[in-house]
């Protein structure tokens, strides 16, 4: 295979707010560059996980290489790198962007700029990418391309007058986008003869090939036999194969050189060795310094995962290990709960990541799980001078030993139409937000900036935002750091016994409110027993709220039409099924879903 002229390569990504048409445009580009026939097209080639398709978001970055014959008669290689579309995966997004030279900004011509649009554009500009806008969905009756083009120029400062006006769905004007990629996205640079310097932007575990590293070669050349070294993790291995990304398949090639995007396999057994953002170099001819921007991935949200059936503990461990092969950001360690038995404390990038893992465990591994309330990582500074990173509320030291506690804070940007500004400000205040400022994007829309504690937004903030703005608000955030805070542990006592799996950390000011709601919710969830069950919320041994589940009085099938026994039996079976999904704590049976109650406190 001949060395490819760098001038004929375009490495780019597509950035957009959710649902503005990123995946559809990617499909059209792949289709129109002709590597795939229409028949081969799955509806959305880039998203190949079922889950992603259902949720309409892209979870893991992926890449595809296609060949485009431009109007000038030359053939160009397009490396389209897909980026995840959720704040949980912000770091992965930034590494994918770093692998590109330019970006296409897709904006919905009916909806205009949204919070993620802005966040992604700023991120792309931070990485020195050349960004050009595309107005999508112009076939919609509500499309206002002129207004949105003006908005892009005013708010972002990108030239948008001649932006392609397309419908990715119908394919209308998409060829203008292809030509714009050739013209507006710069060709890569970098010296193919220099020492190897490649950026890892994703990796994947394959049971035959081991870890498949997705990378962008910045300098130098890599081929079969090169001994590579991951500069941050220190892992070393000899390259077995290099290649590029066909649509949905890996196509081996001779070598990858500066400017190219492709994959490397080297009998690596664990994705932990190939951390996203790490720099690959040649062990025997190393580069002088790694690429900037590498960060060790840290879990932001923790929860306990327990098998509903205690006998499935080993199955759960095996499943978590398998998922971790492909997901270095998933953390887990064994833990034990008095209420739930043996399970795992798991760390995630965010709540979406948690939900995805939970769903995959249930769907792909057929596990029935009990999940405890998710929490963030708190820093507990003890009087002794020690600092603990607290991921499980049960491990909180005695209050007398604690000097002070800190919690993670985010900087959030919320875009909302002006009529809902008041409602959203109220919401942010309820969530202990600190107002930073507000900008008007145009006369009808504003961008609100707040500092918010992460633990106030991980559960249901997004839902609350949507419901209080009738779906119009959009939201993005980044971690700012830790700040001291007045935090307490809220304990739940059921029939006078503390249920460790229900404890959570909460700000002192909302302890009473949360405790009260928690008791109300549990009262609904816990079925009546033969005896009365008090449900209490306590802070530091002091009861702050109480509800009571009344004793069972009546549950009788009065008339049992003689012959039809099967109906009677079905009723009893239903009752017995219900009992199975219970956890025994003391002599109270608690339904498994009650352990997630804390998540639903704001549902009305």
């Amino acid at each position: 295979m001949p060395i490819i002229d760098q001038n004929r390569i375009r490495n780019f990504c597509i950035i957009a707010h959710i649902d503005h048409g990123k995946s559809t445009l990617a499909d059209r580009i792949i289709e129109m560059t002709g590597l795939l026939t229409s028949r081969e097209m799955q509806s959305q080639v880039l998203d190949n996980m079922d889950l992603e398709r259902e949720r309409g978001i892209t979870i893991k970055a992926q890449a595809v290489r296609t060949v485009y014959k431009a109007k000038n008669g030359e053939e160009y290689i397009f490396n389209l790198i897909d980026t995840p579309g959720h704040v949980d995966f912000n770091y992965e997004v930034s590494r994918s962007l770093a692998a590109c030279d330019g970006a296409i900004l897709v904006v919905d011509a009916a909806q205009g700029i949204e919070a993620q649009t802005l966040a992604n554009v700023y991120l792309a500009l931070d990485h020195d990418l050349d960004v050009f806008p595309v107005l999508n969905k112009i076939d919609l009756p509500s499309a206002e391309p002129d207004r949105v083009a003006a908005e892009i120029e005013d708010v972002i400062g990108l030239e948008a007058a001649d932006a392609p006006r397309i419908s990715a769905k119908t394919g209308l004007n998409v060829e203008e986008v292809l030509e714009a990629i050739v013209e507006k996205i710069p060709a890569p640079s970098g010296n193919a003869a220099a020492p190897l310097k490649a950026l890892i932007f994703d990796s994947l575990y394959d049971s035959y090939k081991g870890v498949i590293i997705f990378c962008r070669i910045k300098e130098g050349t890599v081929k079969k036999g090169t001994t590579i070294r991951m500069m941050a993790t220190g892992a070393e291995e000899e390259v077995v194969e290099v290649g590029y990304f066909g649509a949905g398949q890996f196509i081996p090639c001779e070598e990858l050189s500066a400017g190219m995007v492709g994959y490397i396999t080297a009998s690596i057994k664990n994705v932990k060795d190939t951390a996203v953002g790490d720099t690959i170099t040649d062990k025997f001819n190393p580069c002088s310094e790694p690429l900037p921007g590498y960060k060790k991935v840290t879990s932001m949200v923790y929860c306990g995962l327990y098998p509903a059936d205690g006998a499935k503990y080993n199955d759960l461990r095996d499943a978590l290990e398998k998922l971790q092969l492909n997901d270095a950001s998933l953390f887990f360690e064994p833990e034990t709960s008095i209420a739930l038995g043996f399970g795992f404390r798991c760390g995630f990038l965010g709540l979406l990541h948690l939900e995805i893992i939970q769903e995959r465990l249930e769907r792909e591994y057929n596990l029935d799980l009990v999940t405890t309330a998710p929490g963030v990582v708190y820093r507990v500074h003890k009087k002794s001078g020690d600092m603990i990173e607290l991921t499980n509320p049960s491990n909180l030291p005695d209050p007398s030993e604690i000097e002070f506690m800190e919690e993670p804070i985010v900087t959030a940007e919320i875009m909302v139409t002006t009529e809902f500004v008041g409602a959203i400000m109220t919401l942010c205040q309820e969530r202990r937000g600190v107002y930073l400022g507000m900008e008007y994007i145009e006369t009808t829309r504003a961008l609100l900036k707040y500092e918010l504690p992460l633990n106030e937004i991980i559960y249901d903030f997004f839902d609350a935002l949507k419901s209080r703005s009738r779906g119009y608000a959009s939201f993005d955030y980044e971690i700012k750091g830790y700040e001291q805070s007045e935090l307490v542990k809220l304990d739940i006592l059921i029939n006078k016994e503390e249920v460790d799996a229900l404890s959570f950390i909460v700000h002192a000011s909302s302890a009473y409110e949360r405790g009260r709601k928690m008791c109300e919710k549990l009262k609904e969830e816990i079925p009546r027993h033969l005896f009365e069950i008090p449900i209490q919320a306590a802070v530091g041994g002091k009861i702050i709220a109480r509800e009571t589940v009344k004793a069972m009085r009546k549950d009788v099938l009065a008339k049992c039409y003689g012959g039809d026994i099967s109906r009677k039996k079905k009723l009893l079976e239903k009752q017995k099924e219900g009992k199975k999904r219970m956890r025994q704590v003391g002599n109270v049976e608690i339904p498994q879903k009650a352990f997630m109650s804390v998540l639903k406190l704001d549902e009305e």
Partner: protein, 383 residues
């Protein structure tokens, strides 16, 4: 020795569907009722061939409103039973009746046909409550029917009542009990109203508990029933059934104690030789079934299930425990070759400890509290 068999004959017709009723029944024109009765007679003839080794100990004509049948139809059906099955001389033969549907002529036809027990659906002695239920009769009309039945010579009469009705109070329920006991029937069934899915009552009352007597009130009515009827000579022998000594309904007792029964007519359930099955439930289809030939059963019988040993144990327990006397450990061991303790030891220990069941060798029975929450208790016996 021939094995005992019970016959259930389903008459799915009524004048008007009551708001709470979820049985397989409804109004139908005369010509369909006639066709149905003719088909029923054919079914009796065809099915009886499978039961040469059985003696029929009870017959129950239920519905719907079986008393809607014309005198000639009642005579024909009973003639078919008698002509095809070996009906015991002292068999209990019951027909359900609704007030206002029976003339003296009809009652005499019943007597003549061999029916020796009638069960009259009164439900309430309060006309307002009857109206809420959607019943087509008044208390006065019930009285006439009751007296006619006595005049016709029926010495075994049962009255059906319902408590926990919308608008019912403890005192109006007591008034109903008083009026009925004064008549001195032999048997009383007293059910609590159940709001069944798919009925007009479901859409009216489900999710509106405030329109019905609350749980406390309902339980008070239940306790009052037991105590009041006891003081008037009726003993509770099943969760919702009361009788003067010797007048317990044999047919229903058979259901709770595992006697084999054959259901005849639309949608009727059967329990024969360890199999449960159900008749075709579509009236049109049922009436069109060819009852002759070797494959008649295939056309008629649906949902055929063979009970496993485990399921038979479960049923022995959860049906038997509905009876006030409970289930007998001796009988259990005789039937299944293992002791009650072997199978249910742990469950029984727990339930006894919680005061839900009472052990009185060899009987196990529900306590009063156990009856209150019998669904909870009985579900424990599922293996």
């Amino acid at each position: 020795m021939r094995k005992p068999l019970e016959l259930y004959i389903h008459i799915p017709f009524c004048e008007r569907k009551c708001g709470y009723c979820d049985f397989l029944s409804g109004p139908a024109p005369m010509n369909i009722q006639r066709r149905y009765a003719e088909q029923m007679i054919k079914e009796i003839a065809c099915q009886s061939k499978h039961y040469p080794g059985y003696r029929v100990v009870s017959v129950f004509l239920g519905g719907g409103t079986p008393s809607l049948l014309e005198p000639g139809q009642i005579l024909d059906i009973m003639k078919a039973v008698r002509g095809n099955f070996r009906l015991e001389v002292d068999a209990e033969v019951t027909m359900e009746m609704n007030p206002g549907t029976v003339t003296m002529e009809k009652l005499q036809a019943c007597r003549e046909s061999g029916i020796n027990r009638v069960s009259i659906g009164l439900q309430s002695a309060d006309d307002k409550e009857l109206k809420t239920l959607g019943r087509v009769h008044t208390y006065d009309e019930f009285l006439k029917t009751y007296q006619r039945a006595r005049q016709a010579g029926f010495a075994n009469v049962s009255v059906d009542l319902m408590s926990a009705l919308p608008g019912q109070t403890l005192s109006s329920w007591k008034a109903t009990l008083k009026r009925v006991t004064m008549l001195k029937p032999e048997h009383i069934s007293a059910y609590s109203l159940m709001i069944e899915e798919g009925t007009p009552f479901y859409s009216r009352y489900h999710g509106h508990p405030e329109l019905l007597p609350d749980e406390e009130e309902e339980r008070k009515m239940y306790y009052l029933t037991k105590q009041y009827l006891h003081s008037h000579g009726f003993e509770r022998y099943e969760i919702s059934n009361y009788a003067r000594p010797g007048f317990e309904c044999r047919h229903n007792t058979g259901y709770w104690t595992g006697v084999e029964y054959l259901g005849l007519g639309l949608g009727a359930s059967s329990y024969i030789h360890g199999f449960r099955f159900r008749n075709e439930a579509d009236l049109e289809v049922y009436c069109g079934i060819e009852m002759e030939g070797a494959d008649a059963d295939d056309r008629l019988h649906k949902e055929i299930v063979r009970l496993t040993e485990k399921e038979r144990m479960e049923e022995f327990m959860f049906l038997g425990l509905r009876m006030t006397r409970g289930v007998s450990g001796t009988e259990f061991e005789k039937r299944f070759g293992v002791t009650l303790g072997d199978v249910y030891g742990k469950v029984l220990d727990k339930l006894v400890k919680n005061g839900l069941v009472i052990l009185e060798e060899p009987y196990v029975r529900l306590s009063d509290f156990g009856v209150d929450i019998s669904n909870y208790v009985l579900s424990e016996f599922l293996l």
